[in-house]
Symmetry: C2
Subunit: 230 residues, 2 copies
């Protein structure tokens, strides 16, 4: 609906890829609805995935023994995180909905996107004990993981060789988003687009565009072990 803000965190090297098309469709459809859409195109930005001392501008809280979690927490409070991290935090802060668009790499997100999680969602900003899970600091936001796989739907069935696809969603949806208080919409999964026909790939794009039309009416999943491992 008009006025809603969406951040798409996108990790694919190739604009012509299916991931590139899925991202473009989301920008178009959500903009058409009157949403304001921002994209963090991680490879194009050459986003830094490594959690290092460089993420803190100026002197350290404890320069004798470097502790990334403590230092970024302190730096967040002083406003002295590196500018690329601050930029991403502003985008997250403003967003009502976060869409993560990526190809599944090794049952998870590509390292460049994992680095976005590691560096952006610091203590003080996204959580601050005991404000985690349902009372995480990013509550009142929604997240949606939209990704492509190499393996087929059959491989990712409960009795398939790779196990239920929901098993691998636990760390990303529960361990990251739910931990920060973000409510999770059902994932959007395109199974093995590289091994299907051009026709099928077009259907995948149409299905995503269709889903986006009624996305704001969706209820979040119940992000508890039952959903994943029932």
């Amino acid at each position: 609906p008009p006025g809603r803000k969406v951040l798409i965190v996108y990790a694919h090297q190739e604009p012509k890829s299916l991931n590139g098309s899925l991202k473009r469709i989301a920008v178009e459809e959500l903009s058409k609805q009157g949403c304001s859409v921002t994209v963090s195109d991680l490879y194009a930005m050459q986003f830094e995935p490594r959690a290092t001392r460089n993420d803190i501008v100026g002197s350290l809280h404890n320069s004798e023994e470097f502790n990334y979690g403590v230092e970024t927490w302190e730096a967040y409070k002083r406003g002295s995180l590196s500018t690329d991290v601050i930029e991403e935090q502003k985008k997250v802060q403003e967003a009502d909905l976060l869409i993560f668009q990526f190809p599944l790499y090794w049952f998870s997100m590509p390292a460049i996107m994992k680095g976005w999680m590691d560096r952006v969602l610091v203590q003080g900003f996204a959580h601050e004990f005991p404000n985690c899970y349902d009372s995480g600091l990013l509550k009142n936001k929604l997240a949606l993981f939209s990704f492509t796989t190499g393996g087929s739907r059959e491989m990712y069935a409960k009795e398939g060789i790779s196990g239920d696809i929901r098993y691998l969603l636990w760390p990303m949806q529960h361990g990251i988003m739910h931990f920060c208080g973000v409510k999770v919409l059902a994932p959007h999964i395109c199974f093995s687009p590289e091994y299907v026909s051009e026709e099928k790939r077009k259907e995948m794009l149409i299905a995503w565009a269709q889903r986006l039309k009624t996305l704001w009416k969706e209820e979040p999943i119940n992000c508890s072990p039952e959903w994943y491992f029932k």
Copy 2:
């Protein structure tokens, strides 16, 4: 035992950290046993986590539409992956045992280590359909995930707020190592070392040194859904 080769892939910024001590103890104890031990100290190496076109030296198989999986597979066969990736592959090839030593970041490994997985374990080298899972190309090797957590043992209990710690091991142990044919030893987990006494931390180091003494007699876990989600 004498002659066995071990690769420790290590991801912590601070040598004085518990992770640093755990790594050092492994080097010492395994060397004492006569093993030859190599360490990939990812932050010290400034290891590149991003999967990009730079991983392929020279021209691409298809420069019209960049596909990282296809390009690295082709580059592996031609011997034209970037030298840092080739170096890591040599270390893996020679190793009988891979130890991954890291602090848990967001229910998973730090991005710099995820990037090691994404870039090093390419098709052709670590797997090549249908050679995956029990017939993966790295069979006859062992892997062990050794990590520290922020959350306590109680939070990571089956009925705890973060769920059974085994849930989050599925993508790493099954999705990556088992997929490549590597057999998995039980994980070694130090729960929330930052919130316990110096005394307790010393016990953690002693327990690790003790375990290493009989490590070669251990049987791998049965890496199937039952182990994780029973």
